[in-house]
Symmetry: D2
Subunit: 133 residues, 4 copies
């Protein structure tokens, strides 16, 4: 799978007094994109945790803010896997305001696979294809 | 203990595009007040969960919004216990903007004590005095 | 319009360490329901603010938490208007986990109409029908 | 001023079902650090906005997550200015769990100065010393 496209509509709660989306919320939307990517690739992240005992801890997050999203806009989140191996996976994101097709934010999150003890654990074989490993 | 007073300073993240604190955040501040009340009464809520195996699930929350808090203001949260028994506890809150001493929000949260299975469980004896039971 | 039904999927960000949705987030979902109700009734809340100069300030919020929502569940928000006049409107909400059709939370939010100065202002005539006034 | 140290206590609302602080919240704490840095340097960020007509828009944010913070822990945020000129400023952050003095997160946020129209604007002379310009 090259990429997956998710959509969110900006909530009032996500704005700040500058009249735009508070910058930390884009990380939440990246999570939405990541989860939907996994679902489209055949993995429910919920089951990865509950049955697989695998947690994706965020090790690094980088965002570039190009243009602010505003209340009630529809935002498309294009999520792809930049690189992956049994120990870690890096997702890349591009977010656009859909009506004007304007690029808002690009970013990357790097994750390590952890076991229920929150210590590093290799991704079990059965989940690897979904991450392109 | 009659009441406990906590303080928070309004974060930018807590404002919305109306230029005031987004209303759901007062529930978060009530949680701050509740936790600090318990700490002052001799219970770390963290230990209630980890050692006591007791969770305080919110069963009801009511807020009256009288005046909006704004960015960077210091807000005092006066927390008291309205009623308590081994099955549930009701906290009452009054929040004020401290520099003008203006009342912002009053509210109540009603909680049931749950075990680690998230089913109702009586509060163990040793924790009762802190709740005035 | 009797009621409007919106949907949200629970985000990881919305859970807490009890493994369920943090209670303040239901207020955010009520906002989602309210905005979608208005949109279905012919009013974009965004335009109400920007063109109408009308803000819906929350004066009161009441929630009853019956059953916790969990990560990745789909939640239906049924929003209706309980009462309305040119000075205020009260919305009622019922939220259900959709796969098991289990009732999660019921609640009410009471709003006053404000002008851009955040002082009370009567709802202009042209917006009244959408609120059933 | 070399750096400024702020403190936050982890709120329940800031945890997620992994039992640790949800990663986006560290960006909120960076904001707390930044605002307190400015206050210690003689600028209330609130006045920068309201009187100076200057907004600090986030252009870039980078976080490295080394160790997770947990509920009720006290976190120290050490904030410094990495570089600054009349058009932009870069803040650096180091966050530590205070009781074990364990490093949690390091990060950087890069900001551009904007006017009330959200277009780039040079920082007025009178505010420059606080940013070491």
């Amino acid at each position: 799978m090259k990429f997956h496209e998710s959509r969110v509509r900006v909530r009032y709660a996500e704005t700040d007094q500058m009249g735009v989306v508070y910058h930390a919320n884009y990380l939440v939307w990246m999570e939405v994109g990541r989860v939907e990517y996994c679902r489209a690739a055949g993995i429910r992240y919920k089951e990865l945790e509950s049955h697989g005992g695998i947690f994706l801890a965020v090790a690094e997050a980088n965002c570039r803010y190009l243009y602010p999203a505003r209340y009630d806009e529809e935002v498309g989140i294009r999520t792809s896997i930049e690189s992956a191996n049994p120990r870690m996976v890096t997702f890349a994101y591009e977010m656009r305001e859909l009506s004007a097709d304007r690029k808002l934010v690009t970013g990357v999150t790097k994750h390590v696979f952890l076991g229920p003890d929150l210590k590093p654990r290799k991704l079990p074989e059965r989940y690897r294809p979904a991450f392109g490993i």
